[in-house]
């Protein structure tokens, strides 16, 4: 039942001097919801483009359903890729886009598409170029869901969708996935919003995979310890520290390891406070840490903003 449906081996993609993908190895199995996370420019879209045969790898191999997707109808007809800014023919109405999708995807469910269009309050008979940004995203989300393709990629499908519409998307995704299990790869910046939907998480940073683990394993794999700086540092001596913040004599330190019950009891005795680290915080810490972090300085605010927003 859980056969491998995506296999990437030593994938490399160069754009002039930029290493968009730097030796990516990945193996994904069927019927799970994957999160593909990382900052802007980390290589998420490049990876999805290569897997769906919309871009060529510089070297390496990408197999989908056991074969290369390039000009391979047997593979492509089983894949649905919803891009962040999906383009449609100029004069199309949403209903034309849905009819085209119905021709291409053998599992297309028109009733489901109609219900979704109603949920998202999408005008079906308006020219697509007259739609708002959010309505345009809704067209993509509806196609991605109603196509019920065996392998569906959503590349940040929520641009312009408000919080209510995004929640609608997540709810419909979980409901429909439960009834029709398939492989979903969801790329998103809004990690807190999608974290609970994911079964497995792949984090890509500067073209490399830096995390590839089940969401449940990641949950609780890091912890933030805070209290008097002296005690925190003594307690954490020798541990793998991801992040350290101080405020006067207080310190708040995030470590990349789980604490056992004995450690927890000890922390309690010392009067230290332990707090969980969300997937989003962990991804932020991991993609900020390490050498070369200054390379993407112009984009450092992306995640910081999301985090701030999430805290409000």
């Amino acid at each position: 039942m859980n056969e491998t449906i995506i296999e990437a081996r030593h994938l490399v993609k160069h754009y002039k001097e930029l290493n968009a993908l730097d030796n990516v190895n990945l193996s994904l199995t069927a019927n799970r919801i994957y999160g593909l996370l990382g900052r802007n420019g980390a290589g998420k879209t490049t990876l999805m483009s290569i897997l769906t045969a919309q871009a060529f790898a510089t070297s390496g191999e990408a197999l989908v359903f056991g074969a290369s997707a390039y000009e391979n109808d047997a593979v492509l007809s089983r894949i649905c890729f919803i891009r962040e800014s999906q383009k449609y023919p100029e004069d199309f109405h949403p209903q034309h886009a849905f009819r085209s999708a119905a021709l291409f995807y053998k599992n297309w469910d028109q009733d489901f598409a109609d219900r979704l269009a109603e949920d998202f309050q999408l005008p079906l008979k308006r020219r697509i170029k007259k739609l708002s940004r959010g309505q345009l995203s809704a067209v993509g989300v509806i196609i991605g869901l109603a196509s019920r393709a065996e392998l569906t990629f959503f590349d940040e499908p929520y641009l312009g969708l408000d919080a209510v519409a995004r929640q609608l998307f997540y709810d419909r995704l979980v409901e429909d996935y439960a009834e029709h299990p398939r492989t979903i790869i969801l790329s998103s910046h809004l990690i807190d919003e999608v974290a609970n939907l994911l079964e497995h998480v792949v984090v890509i940073d500067r073209g490399r995979i830096i995390m590839d683990a089940d969401a449940e394993e990641i949950r609780g794999s890091a912890v933030t310890v805070s209290g008097s700086a002296e005690k925190v540092d003594t307690f954490l001596a020798g541990r793998k520290i991801l992040h350290r913040e101080t405020l006067g004599s207080l310190a708040s330190v995030t470590v990349d390891e789980a604490l056992g019950s004995r450690d927890r009891a000890e922390a309690q005795e010392l009067g230290l406070e332990l707090s969980p680290v969300s997937l989003q915080q962990l991804v932020v810490r991991k993609t900020m840490a390490g050498p070369g972090a200054t390379g993407a300085a112009s984009k450092t605010n992306d995640f910081a903003d999301d985090t701030l927003e999430a805290r409000r």
Binding site: L197, E199, A215, Q268, E269, G271, P276
Partner: protein, 133 residues
Amino acid sequence: MIDDSKPIFMQIAELIENGIVDGTMAEESQVPSTNEFAAFHRINPATAAKGVNVLVDSGILYKRRGIGMFVATGARAQLIARRTEEFVEQYVKPLAVEARKLGISAEQLNTMIERNSGLAPETGTDKERSAAL
């Protein structure tokens, strides 16, 4: 409801256990399906299934083929026994740590508990609890 402190499947299992302990989920009654749990808590259905399966493995829930999941007879007593064992670690020790920090004596602490807990002074009359202990 669901937070980041521990794996979601454990939290789902605990939520069901809470329902059994406080009596909202009676023994031999049907519990919601994993898909219903997933939709309600907005979590991955595989994760919800894992939480339910933890309880099936420990005999709290059992499966009726083609119908669904049910609360086993004796599940409540079993859970109460286990939670009573965990009570000291989870509640009493943290309480003691904070009391020590504030310089509260054991006597003062006892008085506070008696005044604020709403518990009957003689806990030994609770049949299930004394069975558990």
